[in-house]
Subunit: 406 residues, 2 copies
């Protein structure tokens, strides 16, 4: 009997589990501390009224013999796939059809599972720093080689540094990867690639037969006209890209769970359609997203829904600006925060985790250590605009007092 030893290679536990444990331990020992959580990217505003209404209606249908829905279609209900195709793609001029959209219970599962479609020999490239699921899911599959604990790097992963020195725009790699994960707007740096900067990667992928795994979970926060909302706005993307999208950050579905993945039918490798492969995976290992959630997703695309979620996004963006401007004023080097709910700050000489501990202990504010997102995240720190406005203002005041002035 042999287990999958790749799991043993993972250093420590999943980043956000580690943070949750540290905060729980601290809370237990400091019961008086009113902790403000700007760490994990979890939303705080309740689900918007028109979406709540849709949820109730769907629940009523599930309780009514004439309207009950059993197993959903594996790939999602047509009503939702069509609304997405129309609103998120065709309206932007992207030629994505409803049957190229796969509904799921969230982008994290899809980002984690997509690597299954590729050979175990495939080389992956990731921005450094980036959302840890891309690397960790490949570690579990045995694709990343050996871990260098000193450097915090994997021998077979191609890292694309994104730092203040290069303006958070990665250079093309020296070695050619098979799979290139791009997160735009990037988590955790909150920075973006413009249409022109992204075109370089689309052209590179097409030239080298690579596949772009494009995570657009934060697209709703984009304000800059130069930054694309979908990779399929770019010529050539249909032949090389898969896009992941989420309802978590635009409509507050972190606890509702809904997302989707777009795989164009033109995306062929070794003569095989990746669209067909993913459909097969959905059919075999997934049983469809819940009807209730898919109806809620449809409400997001309604007239009311669109208006309500824009208000929520504005609210979080005001928080983000508050953090960005407050910390800048206090003398921190801050990045991101304009087309993203994330502010990325430089911790100076302090390590990311030392900054985490100090922030928790002195300011009772939880953020996320940059090093948890990759070695180039060391000496950086992520704060999110997903708290309440009042908490955000107070957190910034506390940080200013306890850290900037010491």
């Amino acid at each position: 009997m042999k287990i999958n030893h790749n799991y043993q290679k993972l250093p420590g536990s999943y980043l956000f589990s580690t943070i949750a444990k540290k905060v729980a331990d601290y809370s237990r020992e400091h019961k008086e501390a009113r902790i403000i959580r700007l760490g994990i990217g979890d939303v705080t505003l309740p689900i918007a009224p028109s979406i709540v209404k849709a949820l109730h209606e769907a629940v009523d249908e599930m309780g009514d013999a004439a309207a009950f829905h059993g197993y959903a279609p594996d790939l999602g209900y047509a009503f939702l796939r069509e609304a997405i195709a129309k609103t998120d793609y065709q309206r932007l001029g992207c030629s994505i059809s409803a049957d190229e959209i796969f509904i799921s219970d969230g982008a994290k599962c899809d980002c984690g599972n997509i690597q299954e479609l590729f050979s175990n020999e495939a080389r992956i490239a990731v921005c450094d720093p980036v959302y840890p699921v891309y690397v960790d899911s490949n570690v579990m599959a045995g694709r990343t080689g050996e871990y260098d604990a000193d450097k915090g790097t994997w021998s077979r992963v191609i890292y694309l540094p994104c730092t203040k020195e290069n303006g958070f725009v990665p250079d093309l790699p020296k070695e050619v990867p098979d799979l290139i994960y791009l997160c735009n707007p990037n988590n955790p740096t909150g920075t973006t690639l413009t249409r022109k900067q992204l075109q370089v990667w689309v052209d590179y992928a097409n030239e080298h037969d690579a596949v772009l795994l494009y995570d657009a979970a934060y697209e709703a926060y984009i304000r800059d006209e130069e930054v694309p909302h979908s990779i399929f706005e770019l010529p050539g993307a249909r032949a090389c890209a898969i896009e992941f999208r989420s309802f978590s950050k635009n409509a507050g579905f972190t606890g509702v769970r809904l997302g989707f993945t777009v795989i164009p039918k033109d995306l062929i490798r070794e003569g095989v359609s990746l669209h067909t492969m993913w459909a097969r995976r959905h059919g075999t290992k997934y049983n469809g997203a819940p009807y209730i959630q898919q109806k809620a997703g449809l409400a997001v695309y309604g007239e009311e829904g669109q208006k309500e979620i824009q208000e929520q996004i504005q609210y979080y963006m005001r928080n983000t600006r508050t953090i960005y401007e407050g910390l800048k004023e206090a003398g921190y080097a801050v990045f991101g925060g304009v087309n993203s709910p994330y502010v990325w700050l430089h911790t100076g000489e302090m390590s990311s985790w030392a900054f985490f501990d100090e922030l928790l202990d002195k300011a009772h504010v939880v953020g996320t250590p940059g090093s948890g997102f990759g070695p180039e995240g060391e000496h950086y720190f992520r704060l999110t605009g997903f708290g309440s406005y009042e908490d955000t203002v107070q957190a910034v005041e506390r940080i200013k007092k306890t850290l900037a002035l010491r």
Copy 2:
């Protein structure tokens, strides 16, 4: 760029996708046919009132700033894990604790994903016939060797024939497997292993360091006192078994989506805890089951919920008896149907798919060809008790007329 070529090895599409397509094509060409679907194991009764009430309450919480729930704990809410531990395990005398229960969006995902914890060299054993997800998910991972299209078998899979000749009780295999999938009550045969018959497998697994992957999705239908509701009723199971459970068939959650997996902390292989590995997988590739669904799951364990779901189960069991007795009367050899919502009938000289086509064409009844569940399922056919009572009675009448008397 290399893809995962194991996907190419899968013969045809997923069984139920193939059936859905055949039925859709037939419907299009025969618009007058009133088709009765007793094929896929989908429920038809609406969600019970106390569960609908819990869903509405949870939706209201999600729309209320003070009660809103964002990301759920990766492994599930304590309220649900505790209700399960108490009601499904401790009440039966099984020493399973709440933190050994992992909440998910359904047993299909868990059954499909569990193989990731094991080496690619692991040898699997499956009952033949059985639910196709066990083999297919291992094919995708490259664990099953080559497919023999004539025999319908994989070179590295150990098959455990379950036929009328051995009373659907598999013999211990000649080669020792690492992973043994057991489904009890079995899907598709509807037959069961008693406590005594199952103990043989627990002892065998412990003796040979194998792991039992025990699918108990249909446990709610067990009436025979000799048949265990959980593998953890058996001495020694904590050291060798993982159990999969579903809310789909006991509470009608096929479209709601909720399930759980039990991994005891005593289950150690190569010095590593499989409980820890699965927790890591949940943390990295999953984002928790929705709050709304978990509250609905809790309602299933309420006093009202338990009463209501028992009524639904009785309803489906009456259907199952109707099929079983009707077909027996018509001269068919029928199996299962007593501790299970599935009736397994022998098609005589006809192939499973020929019987499927004839049943669809002559009786407008959809069933599932036994050969789709494994080579030993050839010449068998599955019908389910999940239709409405009226449809079930009519389906049996039609089958009697069109097939038995020809």
